[in-house]
Symmetry: C2
Subunit: 473 residues, 2 copies
């Protein structure tokens, strides 16, 4: 068929009309009513009802529904719908569940799904298959698709090459608006949605871009090179996805051109994929702080337990070192057990103050508020000042409390002194540890916290018990 | 001027051509070279050089540059450039710095800046002004702009009304593609960029949308209602921005229609603003965990110190409660000081295991992996199982270490027993505390952590010292 009529993308025209106002209360996840109806239909084995219930749903919502079903119901549901699921639904599923679904599908079915997806989503799906199935699926695809996907699999994970789709709109720098519109109306194999026209020279090298809205508002005889933006940032195919996310955020992009080593346009990254990346990176940052993996929530209990062990081992080593420090003062404590009562305070205050500093520093590194050109001395002095100010306040409060509680003014001074020492250290170490880790190529988000609390625990106990040994015994 | 020629947006045509390949190494923030050159020019008071250095930069990069200058240089820089800064640069500045710049501008200058911005950014800027200046700026604007901005200021912060821009493209449901294109070519006051055409009925109520790419590919005589998507989610103007972000993420949107109480189209939210929201919310989630505000990094030391006090007070109360628990066992400790050496271990392991559970639960609540319809019992049992598995492993290891260290097998059993008790409690409380807080309308992201560690500290000390008192003395 030459010159296709442009229609709504396949699969959408059979979904009924829904112009509805968003209700915040019912926005997130499947409604209770839907879950109940689905469960009832599954229990009754009523396949047509199940199908009619999911028919009006967006693929992303079907994926959500599957994630919210109980394991037994989910199995039933998938047995019924597996071969009727839209490709996009499968691609929206949480990774663990997607594997479950895909493992049950024949290579021919998978090939069909892969064909319907954009190249970036298709590669995501392919890379989870075992080598044999992957090859079978690839073999059953048309040569061009196969070449794109095989190349896609060679790009490093988390690179621009994995985020981009190969379907793109490249317009010759010789064309005017009229020629472009005629091309767009007649071309097959264009992406479903696109937002910018990339203008390329004879070598397929991009020379500028025209937002669709501007192209649409321009008269037919205007040359595209006359209205194009000449400020165009080309993304090399091996760029890390974090850098891609930065570009989109910084410059408010909706799409960006990806080029190969010779500077030729080979793909386009669109903002919907970048939104996913930003979300994933934020989730990772958050979970890494406490040593939890991003698959933690959906993994079975034994796997979750195993994934969390590493961080608990670090905690264990940390406290054993702290215990060793305390054991050096067993004599003092035996002589004066009130010290055991008060000693956790200094460690806890230093640890928590330090974790605040670490979090701010790690976040500033991640958002590039701190760059290699930043004035590091100013950062450190600020945190030393902050640490000192709060240390003095809390030392006075706690010194008074401790002195009054045990009726011993010397004890109050020891507690206050140790507190000042430890909180100032927390301000210093909380800045310096992540900065040094970042400089020598370690990830401060995962290691800095436990490392810091080991130091604040040990120093907290050492300062408090040491001062007590010197002045109170 | 009727029927404007469509050109690149104002301010862009005088920036020189930059088609350049992104270099990851030099991507983030201003380069060292640029900073050095700017500082040299500032020191020499060479205004033309400063201006020529910033001329080729994107407004977002100029804002970054300003943020990276030392305070004294920044003052010099702003004195020179304040009146020449692009509106977009000012709107990109970090909030604290933006206030600094805006405070120095006359109402007439501000009015000019406001006129150049989209309504959402203009409202952001206006709301930071004192009431007097705000009124003066508003008074000097054309009536329609003023009405939009005054209404914008009445919408709650963090609502769809604040995110939307009033400039939008509404197309009659009676038009065909040709009529639409003619309208777009001739209309003034359209937004700079738009991605979807919203089709409205005679009452201005949206009935569907057409992505620009599809409109562009359709022949002139085709009616828009024949190619429009009828699946359209209308965002009420008072919707929370978090819900808006969810919509964009879930359905891969690039723009969304905002409606008033009568369902009439009054604005459009575009994805670039949503990317900013997603980023801000992620940052808040991360910083809230440790009781740090999102202005922490750029605030002066005394302010930062003050902002962090609240969380340190919570820590203080927490440890004082724990100290009180320990004080009940002063006699036992005096009798057997080895207990003081080992007692931090149980508390630390329980606390850290619990913080892992809390983080996963809070995140799952935020991403709506847990909804009101989720099976809460299954979550709790999973965490109890995870807690028990890791508790047994670590109880055996630590029991052995403790028993061997002090040559007392009973001490090993007491340590192991207390550990199991506290880590299972951590699994239970780490799930239940955030779930209950969420149910009764408290924010689990800010309060759940400190609350949990208070319980694991107290129970950890109590279980260990209590068991020791029962079995060892």
């Amino acid at each position: 068929m030459a010159g296709p009529e442009v229609e709504k993308p396949t699969g959408e025209e059979d979904r009924p009309t829904i112009v509805e106002t968003v209700d915040e209360e019912e926005l997130y996840g499947p409604s209770e009513e839907l879950l109940e109806n689905i469960n009832a239909a599954l229990a009754a084995g009523d396949i047509p009802v199940v199908e009619s219930l999911i028919e009006p749903l967006h693929p992303a919502d079907v994926a959500d529904l599957i994630e919210h079903l109980e394991p037994e119901q989910r199995k039933l549901f998938l047995d019924i719908t597996r071969h009727a699921l839209e490709a996009e639904t499968i691609s929206h599923l949480d990774e663990a569940l997607r594997e479950e679904v895909v493992d049950q599908m024949a290579p021919a079915e998978l090939a069909e799904v892969v064909t319907e997806l954009d190249t970036d989503d298709a590669v995501d799906l392919l890379e989870d298959l075992d080598a044999d199935t992957q090859q079978q699926v690839l073999d059953s695809l048309p040569a061009e698709d196969r070449a794109y996907l095989e190349q896609g699999l060679t790009f490093p994970e988390d690179s621009a090459g994995r985020l981009m789709q190969r379907e793109l709109v490249a317009i010759s720098d010789q064309w005017n608006v009229g020629e472009t519109v005629d091309y767009l109306r007649n071309a097959e194999d264009l992406p479903d949605d696109f937002y910018d026209l990339y203008i390329v020279d004879a070598d397929k090298k991009p020379v500028g871009s025209v937002p669709l809205s501007r192209a649409m508002r321009s008269k037919r005889d205007i040359k595209l090179t006359d209205v194009m933006d000449e400020e165009l940032r080309l993304v090399p195919v091996d760029t890390d996805q974090e850098a891609v996310a930065y570009l989109f955020r910084q410059y408010g992009l909706v799409s960006a051109p990806v080029v190969d080593g010779d500077g030729r346009l080979i793909g386009v990254i669109t903002v919907d994929d970048v939104v996913r990346v930003i979300d994933e990176e934020a989730e990772e940052d958050l979970l890494n702080i406490v040593g939890v993996s991003d698959t933690d929530f959906h993994a079975p209990a034994y796997k979750t337990a195993f994934l969390r062990v590493r961080w608990l081992v670090v905690t264990l080593v940390n406290t054993l070192i702290a215990s060793f420090v305390i054991s050096r003062f067993e004599g003092t404590i035996g002589h004066y057990p009130a010290l055991a009562v008060l000693m956790p305070i200094t460690a806890a205050m230093g640890g928590n103050a330090g974790v605040q500093v670490i979090t701010v520093t790690v976040r500033a590194l991640a958002t590039r508020d701190i760059t290699p050109n930043s004035n590091v001395m100013r950062l450190i002095s600020k945190e030393l000042a902050v640490g000192l100010m709060n240390a003095v306040v809390f030392a006075i409060i706690l010194g008074a409390v401790g002195g009054y509680w045990f009726g011993h003014i010397g004890l109050g001074f020891v507690l206050g002194g140790a507190m000042i020492f430890n909180m100032v250290w927390a301000g210093f170490a909380g800045t310096v540890i992540p900065l040094v880790m970042d400089r020598i190529g370690l990830d401060p988000a995962t290691g800095a916290g436990p490392f810091l609390t080991t130091t604040t625990d040990c120093l907290g106990f050492f300062a408090f018990l040491g001062l007590a040994t010197l002045f109170l015994t």
